[in-house]
Each structure stands twice: as C-alpha cells, then as structure tokens.
C-alpha cells in the first residue's frame, strides 16, 4: 500500500504542478485581463494545494500553515484586481 | 535543483535588469520587484538547499545542526523582503507622484525626443 501511497503522492504532486503550468499558459496568453486574473487566482489555488501536497509528501503538518495563509490572503489580490477591472480603482 | 534555481535566479535578475533599464517608471518598478526576487533567492541560496529540514527545533534535547537548514540566510532574506517591500511601496508612490506633477511616466520626469 505504501508504494501506492508514494505513487499517488507523486502523481498528485505532478498533477498540481501541471495544473500550475496550464494556468500559467492562460496567464501568459490572456487574452483578456479577466483571463489573466482568473489564471492567477487558479495559480494561487494550485499553490495552496501544492503546500498541502508537500505537507503530505514530507509527512510534515507545518505546510498546513502556508496553505491556510494562501487561502486567506490569495483571494485578496484577486478581489482587488477584479474590482480594479470593474471600477478602475480598488478603493473608492 | 541547484541548476534550476541558479538559472531561475539568473532569469529573474536578468529580466529585472532589462526592465530597470527601460524608460517608463512602471517598468523600473517591475524590474526592481523581479530583481529583488532574484537577489532574495540568491541570498537564500548561500545557505545551500535543504528539503524538508526547516530550522525549527521541535524535538527536545540538544539539536544536531546538521539536521537543519541554515537559518541565518533565511533571517537575512526576511529582512531583505521587508525592506524591499517598503522601498517598492515608496518607489510606487514616487512614481505616481512624479506622474502627477510632471504629467509623464518617464523615469526622468520628462519625455526625451528620440
């Protein structure tokens, strides 16, 4: 079972990284600003998942903290960006 | 990993340098951001790379230093990140201040004829 676990940990790790790559492609090609914002938000989410996966890979619960922080912080810039797109300024 | 990180540092720094040499203040700001990423990673790399050995002494008893990543570069990078954050903010505000007062976003505060 442990080899399966090892494999699936590796698999999910690669999956997350590939997801990051896909999001980056969208981030790079856009074409519209909302596409890029969406891609960046996905990148944040993937980063959160990456932290979780790393934690599991290393059996270290410390990575949880990073994931928590990403969840709580990452959306802020997305909201700010979306608001910027919608209103032209972030704080009115 | 070492090779990857080295190339990454080079790419970040190089992109930053390119941007810092550009005429628009926003480009310079972006360049400074990228350069500081590169430099931070560079400082970090002087402690060499350690995977899953954060300098947290969680086990009781005398810690064996060989089990932990070098904490000093991390502390230095932390300070550098904070200072970099502050200076980025400053440059940003200066940029818009300059844009407001000079009407231009050129780094010299005036457009040069090319």
């Amino acid at each position: 079972m442990n080899s399966l676990l090892g494999f699936s940990l590796g698999f999910v790790f690669v999956c997350v990284i590939i997801a990051m790559l896909f999001s980056t492609v969208r981030l790079l090609i856009g074409p519209s600003a909302q596409d890029r914002i969406l891609a960046l938000d996905t990148l944040w989410m993937c980063a959160m998942l990456l932290s979780l996966v790393q934690g599991m890979r290393f059996g270290n619960p410390l990575y949880f903290e990073a994931a928590l922080l990403i969840v709580l912080i990452g959306f802020v810039s997305t909201v700010a960006l979306a608001k910027f797109l919608m209103r032209g300024e972030v704080i009115e | 990993m070492e090779l990857t990180l080295s190339i990454a540092i080079g790419v970040l720094f190089g992109s930053g340098v390119w941007l810092v040499l550009r005429p628009r203040s926003f480009q310079v700001l972006t360049g400074l951001l990228l350069m500081s990423y590169g430099v931070n990673l560079f400082i970090f790399s002087t402690g060499q790379l350690w995977v899953d050995q954060p300098p947290l002494i969680l086990q009781p008893g005398d810690p064996d230093p060989a089990d932990y990543a070098d904490p000093l570069p991390q502390a230095l990078v932390l300070t550098a990140i904070v200072i970099g954050f502050a200076t980025t903010a400053l440059y940003l505000v200066l940029m818009i201040g300059s844009r407001g007062i000079t009407g231009s976003d050129h780094v010299d505060g005036k457009e040069h004829d090319q």
Partner: protein, 123 residues
C-alpha cells in the same frame, strides 16, 4: 518521507484514492482553464479545482495526518471553510467585472457576453 511507512494500509488506500481523484480533477480544472475557447467557459474550469479537487486533497490530508498522529487532525476543515468563504466572492467579482468590461467593449464595437440577459440599453 518521514513516517509515512507507519501508515495503516486502509488509510494508505483511502488517501491514495483521494489523491488520485483530486490530482486528476485539479489537472482537468486547469486544463479547462487553458483549453476552453471563451472566458465565460474558462471560468468554470477552476471551479472543479476549488471544490472537488481541493476537497479531495484536504480530506486526504486529514486522513493521512490523523492516522499518522493517531489523533484527529482536522484543521484542514478551516481551509475548506475559508475556501467556501472566498471562492464564491472571487468568482462573482471576476465574472461581473468581465461582463461589464465586455459590455463596455461591445459598445465600442468589440465582442461581448452572448445572450439576452446582458443587452445594452440601445440594443
């Protein structure tokens, strides 16, 4: 991988399945983001990442650490809760921003949201 060997087989199996599923979903979500032709379609891609993808991984993590440490480790619930609190806002904000941006663009003769819901006053 410190201590993963000590994991009971059932837990390892559950965790592995969750991870495989989650990993697959995550990739598919990002794939959607990358490959779907329009923004209004692309925005649905990451949604599966944040829900089922993240959910699987979080549960896997809970199971893994609970069985590793032989006590309930459930603080991942917090992450789930925060995802539930943040992801909808993000989606709403991006979506509305995109819609009105496109509407403004359509007024200037560029494409825009399809359908009857969003029509310009003159349309």
């Amino acid at each position: 991988m410190s201590g993963l060997e000590a994991l009971p087989p059932w837990a390892a199996l559950v965790v592995s399945l969750l991870l495989l599923l989650g990993g697959g979903i995550v990739v598919i979500g990002a794939l959607g983001l990358m490959r779907l032709p329009h923004f209004y379609q692309r925005i649905h891609g990451p949604a599966i990442t944040t829900t089922l993808g993240a959910g699987c991984l979080l549960v896997a993590s809970m199971v893994l650490f609970s069985s590793l440490q032989s006590r309930p480790v459930i603080h991942e619930l917090l992450i789930s809760a925060f995802i539930l609190l943040t992801a909808p806002v993000v989606a709403m904000m991006i979506m509305r921003a995109a819609v009105y941006r496109d509407l403004r663009g359509r007024r200037r003769g560029r494409g825009g949201p399809q359908g009857e819901v969003y029509r310009l006053p003159e349309d």
